[in-house]
Assembly symmetry: C2
Homo-oligomer: 133 residues x 2
Amino acid sequence: MTLTANQQYVLTALREASNPLSAYALLEQLRKPGFSAPAQVYRALDKLIEHGLAYRLETLNAYVACSHQSHCERNLMAFAICDTCGQADEFEVNDGDLRHWAKSHAFDLERTVIEIRGRCATCARHRNKGAMS
Amino acid sequence: MTLTANQQYVLTALREASNPLSAYALLEQLRKPGFSAPAQVYRALDKLIEHGLAYRLETLNAYVACSHQSHCERNLMAFAICDTCGQADEFEVNDGDLRHWAKSHAFDLERTVIEIRGRCATCARHRNKGAMS
DNA sequence: CGAGATTTGTTATAAAATAACAGTTTAGAT
DNA sequence: ATCTAAACTGTTATTTTATAACAAATCTCG
């Protein structure tokens, strides 16, 4: 699976970012290499997502690189998103319940989205300290 | 918990709809009663969601009434969304895995979003019939 | 009543995503 | 090596979704 130049630019930008990036943030970052319109970013993102190299975070309208090395195992992924610092952690989850519901309701399952929102360990700790003062 | 007139209009529209409605679809439907701008709809939606009477479907940018009678139990809800007919089914799910991950990572969990996409029983059946011909 | 909070209508703008189209590159078959 | 079909590109315009900001109206309840 070979990536085009644009796809590589977008993937690299996502990998180097500490936080999820919006499509427009990516566009700004990639003006130097020649990007000039949203469609270019969205097209690259679509392919990366199709290949399991990136994810869209639905509750954030933002995108992240898959945390796995090259090709993602495509198991059921979930994301924990910190409302304070914006970091998103990818983790694997057991989707038994969802598959069970789908099966028992003859629902032909194609995609699963699981996102949890709250405060990451670091930010939760800081907030607690703040409350003490 | 008393709803204002606008909140009641929006809730009724959502309850009478067979499918999730976008904020702008709601706005169109509610012009007769006097709505004239998006903010009116979004404000009512915010309150309804706050009170557990409605949900936002993140993968659809659309809104649905809670399927429970008056006050929602606020257990962990998930939605199965049909990509063919657009219907969304609310169902309860065991979030043990997510809570466990959150606990073991000291993540202060505030909100959980679970949406599955695919084809509902009815639409899957039709598609299969079609493939036979 | 009257002070404070909440809700309202409104205009304007921001943010996110897609449509459409012609030109270019790429990969594979012959 | 050449041809062809598919995929990708750059670009302009538009659509869809969501917020900001602010003054006026309304509700709450001591």
